[in-house]
Symmetry: C2
Subunit: 126 residues, 2 copies
DNA sequence: TCCCCTGTATTATGCATTATAATACAGGTA
DNA sequence: TACCTGTATTATAATGCATAATACAGGGGA
């Protein structure tokens, strides 16, 4: 697992880690059931504190994206919650992005193109 | 201007204010050139500190969404920056949302439908 | 002129979050 | 036994968020 962290970013380190794990899973680089690095290992590789990685893992666990076995470590384990809840949450985030796009003069066509391009990175669940 | 703030939200108050102003503009409730409430007025109405509203206005100003006249106050003033920069920024935010959708089992069709519904709230710029 | 309206600035306080360091512990595995 | 997991604790430090109480600069209107 290779992390690229920006220590001068306004995004907290633990969130950057969480985001990159999420992207790796969505991109198919990490598959369900696959093991994540041990928190000490990842912390050493990334040059951050053990507890910072731990915080990222705890967040992913709360989000139902990984499970943690106290003996063997963390692994990808997707629990799907209520579709309505997920859609409601994503809708609020999307609404802000769409609003930013509008006030910045991005057209509907441009937004649709961008969105479709990103969607294509989503292989359907089988 | 009516604000609905959630003081127990993890989203900072100044950000909630910024978001609601943005949504009001994108939704056509606040038009370019239109005056925003004075920071003291809005602070009193919302029951928050003057400097919290000021922080939200400063952020909106940095983002090129409003202008502030030290004499007469703040008003909507959209400066459009480089389209490439805006798209790059929005793309990163969208990427995370799309990833979350995927791992949570939302289909492409469902995402497209949600996105299109939100896009319809965008009247084209004339 | 005087008062009121703007945004802005300053100083102090309090609390939560983020991140680190250095250990220590529980418990399964080889 | 030695080593690997995650977890917990305590301390420290920097930063972010929010409030309070003033104070200031400066334009506008009565």
């Amino acid at each position: 697992m290779i992390l690229s962290l920006d220590f001068s970013s306004e995004t907290p380190i633990y969130l950057q880690i969480r985001n990159q794990v999420l992207l790796a899973i969505a991109g198919g680089k990490l598959k369900p059931g696959e093991k994540l690095p041990a928190i000490r290992t990842l912390a050493n590789e990334a040059g951050v504190n053990m507890m910072t990685v731990n915080k990222a893992y705890q967040l992913l666990k709360e989000e139902g994206i990984i499970s943690i076995d106290r003996r063997s470590g963390a692994f990808v384990s997707l629990s799907r919650d209520s579709k309505a809840d997920v859609l409601a949450r994503l809708s609020k985030e999307l609404e802000l992005i769409v609003s930013e796009a509008k006030v910045k003069g991005i057209s509907k066509a441009e937004m649709r193109e961008l969105f479709n391009r990103l969607l294509e990175g989503m292989e359907e669940e089988k």
